[in-house]
């Protein structure tokens, strides 16, 4: 029976998307019910599967195509890794679907939103369940498409349309490498199934790095990180679902899924890419003023942590952090959405303030999310972050360990900066004075996610995934204090970082009306505010290389290809076509003659030559 279970999980959201698109465009209530119902049932089935699934991984597949040596299955692979992701995607996804019913209320394209959301869920589940590279790549691209549709959901706004385009194109760049990697892997090993990956470390480094390109694009790692902050133009639930909890995690998930492919050199590159991303994004987050952008850079930074963990040889740690991050970052985004909703679409934190009284549920849940993200004992973020730091310390990468601690300081700093400015202090605008708490349908998911953020570190996620990667250490000690026993350096370093960050943020921002940092840091603050000028740099690079290339291509296209080849060929073809048509005169005698002549020519060719 287990064999059949994954199929409805995958296809229910697709059915919902199709039904909404075809039939219920005009009936909002029904559309929402279909979409929420589909993912909720998927979640329930996932739970059943989770309970039923034994220790061993299994696959349920059908043969899709055999062409010569290439044999492609369409299948589902169920193991700890995919089970965990299934629960995250459908569980957190359900919360976000429910929240969206409130958030998108009154939007003229309400039904389209849910159709897109369900389609995204389908694609994402496909990535999670795939049992081979080919299938994963198809769903990988579908995820890209659905993310494009959702970022550009308000396509009337040119900024949203541009952001969607930017996200899509940037991802394309990474996916190109991914595809090359897949093809290379296939040509080396002759197989694409995950069950038959080559032995660890036997494939060439370049294959691993090309496949890593896919993760760099999708998980927005340096240097392809530029699309994620812009993607915040989409509706806030989308930011929570796609750009915090699930899609961007797909890159990390994929790295864990195909971990055996990476050679040691490739892993080192991966670890440093993650570390650099984490640091850079945390620095930029310090000087952002848009509530969603701060969270976006924070997401980048946390994704950096996860990628770093994979690079350090710790997929279980990466998946652990991925899970807790999905809880608290989805929570933070949804709470931020609640704030934006309450202030009628204000996103500048310097126009908020004193929301503690007016939005109590949002306040408390946001606080829980912040504490979890910063890594305050005993909330979930503490355990997952600690496990990564411990892994870095244990494996002897002290530089990366130090980097991780610095990022932890910065994380606490920018999160409490956000927290103080938005919820405490004085009202900084009229809108903040008129703020009101969001409806139940929005606050309920906040509460559920807040609970998960608090206890997520203690429910045994790491050992659950760890089994699959041969992690055998069983902790005798109580889970709640285990880190202090097993890796005291990392645990205390993490806590110290939180203290430092918190004190710095409090001294600067507890009562601030404007940001005091630019005056103190001067040029550095501007550098951070302008995101290290990556966008400008890329724009210049594109202007220099691509435009130059484009003008050359334009010349070739216009004169050589267009003029000589296409128009020349087309002209010739068209001319030939017209000329031949004269033969086709409609004259019956001529037809009969040509038939006989044709026979004669054939006879001559075959019999007399």
């Amino acid at each position: 029976m287990n064999d059949a279970l994954p199929w409805p999980i995958l296809f229910l959201p697709l059915i919902a998307a199709v039904l909404i698109t075809l039939f219920t465009q005009k009936r909002n209530g029904l559309s929402a019910a279909l979409s929420v119902g589909a993912i909720a049932i998927s979640f329930v089935i996932s739970v059943i599967l989770f309970v039923n699934a034994g220790e061993a991984a299994f696959e349920s597949k059908i043969n899709w195509l055999t062409v010569g040596a290439l044999n492609i299955d369409f299948g589902m692979r169920i193991d700890s890794l995919s089970l965990l992701m299934l629960l995250i995607v459908t569980g957190v996804g359900s919360m976000i679907h429910i929240y969206s019913v409130g958030y998108m209320h009154g939007d003229p394209s309400f039904s389209r939103f849910f159709a897109c959301l369900s389609f995204f869920t389908f694609s994402m589940l496909g990535v999670v369940l795939s049992n081979n590279f080919f299938e994963m790549f198809i769903f990988w691209e579908l995820v890209g498409v659905s993310s494009y549709m959702l970022i550009g959901f308000w396509y009337q706004k040119s900024s949203a349309a541009n952001a969607a385009k930017k996200a899509f194109l940037t991802n394309r760049l990474g996916d190109f490498g991914f595809l090359l990697g897949i093809i290379m892997l296939w040509s080396i090993t002759g197989g694409l199934g995950f069950a038959t990956l080559p032995k660890p470390g036997t494939t060439a480094t370049v294959v691993g790095l090309l496949i890593f390109c896919g993760a760099v694009g999708k998980s927005a790692q340096f240097p392809l990180h530029v699309w994620l902050p812009d993607a915040m133009e989409g509706p806030t639930p989308v930011s929570a679902l796609i750009h915090a909890a699930t899609m961007v995690a797909a890159g990390v998930f994929m790295l864990c899924r195909v971990f055996d492919v990476f050679s040691l050199d490739a892993l080192t590159v991966i670890a440093w890419t993650g570390g650099v991303t984490a640091l850079m994004a945390a620095l930029i987050a310090v000087q952002q003023n848009d509530i969603k952008r701060i969270l976006a850079y924070s997401t980048l930074s946390q994704l950096g942590y996860m990628v770093m963990a994979v690079g350090l040889g710790g997929p279980p740690q990466a998946m652990f952090h991925l899970t807790t991050h999905a809880f608290f970052k989805a929570l933070l985004f949804l709470a931020a959405g609640s704030v934006i909703h309450g202030l009628t679409n204000e996103q500048d934190i310097w126009k908020m303030g004193a929301l503690k009284k007016k939005m109590p549920v949002t306040f408390w849940t946001f606080l829980a999310g912040t504490l979890a993200l910063c890594g305050v004992w005993p909330l979930s973020g503490f355990y997952s972050k600690d496990s990564i730091l411990a892994e870095a310390f244990k494996s002897g990468h002290l530089a990366l360990f130090g980097l991780g601690v610095v990022v932890a300081i910065l994380t606490t700093f920018y999160m409490f900066r956000l927290f103080f400015v938005v919820f405490l202090g004085k009202e900084k605008s009229q809108a903040a004075g008129h703020a009101h708490e969001s409806p139940k349908v929005m606050t309920l998911p906040l509460v559920v996610l807040a609970l998960m953020s608090c206890v997520g570190g203690l429910i045994g996620i790491e050992p659950f995934v760890g089994k699959q990667f041969g992690m055998t250490e069983s902790h005798e000690t109580l889970a709640i204090i285990a880190p202090f026993v097993h890796a005291p350096v990392a645990a205390f370093a993490g806590l110290a970082a939180v203290m430092v960050g918190f004190l710095a943020a409090m001294s600067l921002y507890a009562k601030a009306q404007t940001d005091p940092l630019p005056a103190k840091l001067q040029g550095l603050a501007i550098l951070l505010r302008d995101k290290f000028y990556f966008d400008e740099l890329y724009a210049r690079i594109i202007a220099l290389t691509q435009d130059a290339l484009a003008s050359v291509a334009d010349f070739l296209d216009r004169w050589i290809i267009g003029g000589l080849m296409v128009r020349g060929t087309q002209g010739t073809t068209e001319l030939v076509g017209r000329a031949v048509r004269f033969v086709q005169s409609g004259n019956l005698q001529f037809y009969a003659f040509s038939f006989a002549a044709g026979v004669a020519v054939v006879l001559y060719l075959v019999l007399y030559r």
Partner: protein, 480 residues
């Protein structure tokens, strides 16, 4: 004598005769609906054909003139499916037929009977008789719109050209008989295994090739196709393009791969040249066309060329690719012609498609899918068919480098064809001025048949495995 082997054909004949009788008592207003009766009857027969397992050993009847094997069964089902879709199309067309609607349907059934016999032919006499049954039914069908000059002209052209080709065919059969002393395929196989270079036999077989080349409209026997396709009533055009062509193909397979492979083996060059020129001719001539049916006529010539690719490699993978291609071609063309039948009422000019996307999004989408499939773009049936054909000839490349040239020519043809297929799509969606924007109502059976076509196109394009297995199984009857 073994009548029971022919039960499918007998059922179709009985259905046709029953329909003739039924028509006598049907009030005039209801006569067009008889097409549904015929289609339903054929659907039953099609279902019946599945009750029977594919025979692993071929069984023969009528002194070995008639053979029943996997290949025959495949094509019988193919023809039944084609006739069902054409009949539903004909009901939509019936308001344009002045008189004798009932006979129109019955003639389609008789032509179908001929095709089904053709798929079982195991003797040159059987080839001739079944072809005549098909062709004579078509003479009448093509000129059925007696009040329209175009239809009559097409009928006369088809009659004279058809008679000419039949003359060549029967002359060829006579020569073969004179040289080999038999017209039976099993006998011919024995003879040609012994002496494969008897020039009189070759002469006879080449004339047979000309006669069959006429049926599939391959160069240099293709002249009639565009004129007849344009003039004939639309459902008849569809049946000519799908059914008649497939009948020619199955006979080519039976004669040249089943009966005289030792001779055909020395003619690969001829087949390759014929395929290449047919592809080029069809695609190039289609470019300047403005008439939809004429355009599809040229496109059907090009497709005959693609099908010949599969024949030219003379092996199982080429043949199974041909069958696969034909299956995709059936659904694609049926969809295209059904839409044309519904939309192009006054003229068949491409401009009559203007505004179709607003008049009926369903029809616009179906025609677009059909054009995309004809163009050979994934994930539709046409892509996979072309892929398999090209794969089969490229695999032969190391044996004879000429196959690489042939593959190049075929690819060039595909690229050229995109130009005119997309011209049709452009007319549907991007035409500036649309004179007529009244919505088009599509009857339930027509919706159903369009649905079947669309599902067929997607199924063959997305899940090629099962259909390919069926094709391979059918081809195994040829015993390579």
């Amino acid at each position: 004598m073994n009548f029971s082997l022919t039960y499918l054909e007998l059922a179709v004949v009985a259905l046709a005769l029953g329909l003739l009788l039924l028509e006598l008592w049907t009030p005039t207003a209801l006569k067009p609906k008889l097409g549904y009766v015929a289609a339903a009857g054929l659907a039953l027969i099609l279902g019946w054909s599945f009750a029977d397992t594919i025979p692993s050993e071929s069984a023969t009847a009528f002194s070995q003139m008639y053979v029943r094997d996997g290949l025959a069964l495949f094509f019988k089902r193919f023809f039944l499916m084609a006739a069902i879709l054409v009949l539903i199309m004909s009901v939509e067309f019936s308001d344009r037929i002045r008189m004798g609607v009932g006979e129109f349907y019955v003639l389609i059934l008789f032509a179908l009977t001929g095709m089904m016999f053709a798929s079982s032919a195991n003797d040159l006499i059987m080839v001739f008789v079944s072809l005549e049954l098909i062709t004579i039914s078509f003479y009448v069908l093509v000129s059925f719109q007696r009040s329209r000059m175009g239809s009559l002209e097409a009928g006369v052209k088809y009659l004279i050209m058809g008679a000419l080709s039949s003359a060549f065919l029967i002359f060829g059969i006579a020569l073969v008989f004179g040289s080999a002393g038999t017209t039976n395929f099993d006998g011919l196989l024995q003879v040609t295994k012994g002496a494969a270079d008897d020039k009189v036999l070759w002469l006879g077989l080449l004339l047979v090739l000309a006669g069959l080349g006429f049926k599939i409209a391959a160069f240099p026997f293709q002249m009639w196709a565009p004129d007849v396709y344009q003039g004939a009533p639309t459902p008849v055009t569809a049946f000519l393009a799908v059914g008649s062509k497939a009948a020619g193909i199955v006979l080519l397979l039976r004669v040249f791969l089943g009966a005289v492979p030792p001779v055909t083996g020395q003619w690969t060059k001829l087949l390759m040249v014929m395929a290449a020129i047919t592809i080029l001719y069809g695609n190039l001539c289609a470019i300047p066309q403005r008439n939809l049916k004429r355009l599809l006529g040229y496109s059907s010539i090009a497709n005959a060329g693609y099908l010949l690719l599969g024949l030219s490699v003379l092996n199982a993978s080429g043949c199974s690719a041909m069958l696969y291609y034909l299956a995709g071609y059936l659904f694609t063309l049926a969809a295209a012609f059904t839409v044309i039948c519904l939309v192009a009422r006054e003229s068949d000019d491409i401009s009559s498609l203007a505004g179709l996307s607003q008049r009926s999004p369903l029809l616009a989408a179906c025609l677009t899918l059909a054009m995309v499939s004809l163009g050979g773009i994934p994930p539709l049936a046409g892509f996979f068919g072309k892929f398999l054909l090209l794969k089969s000839i490229i695999e032969q490349g190391p044996v004879n480098p000429g196959y690489y040239c042939l593959a190049g020519t075929a690819l060039f043809g595909v690229v050229v064809s995109l130009y005119y297929y997309f011209g049709v799509i452009r007319a549907i969606y991007l035409s500036k001025e649309a004179p007529d924007l009244t919505p088009i109502t599509v009857s339930v059976p027509a919706r159903l048949s369009l649905g079947v076509c669309v599902i067929g196109m997607f199924y063959l394009g997305l899940f090629p495995q099962t259909a390919l297995l069926v094709a391979q199984e059918a081809v195994s009857a040829l015993k390579f």
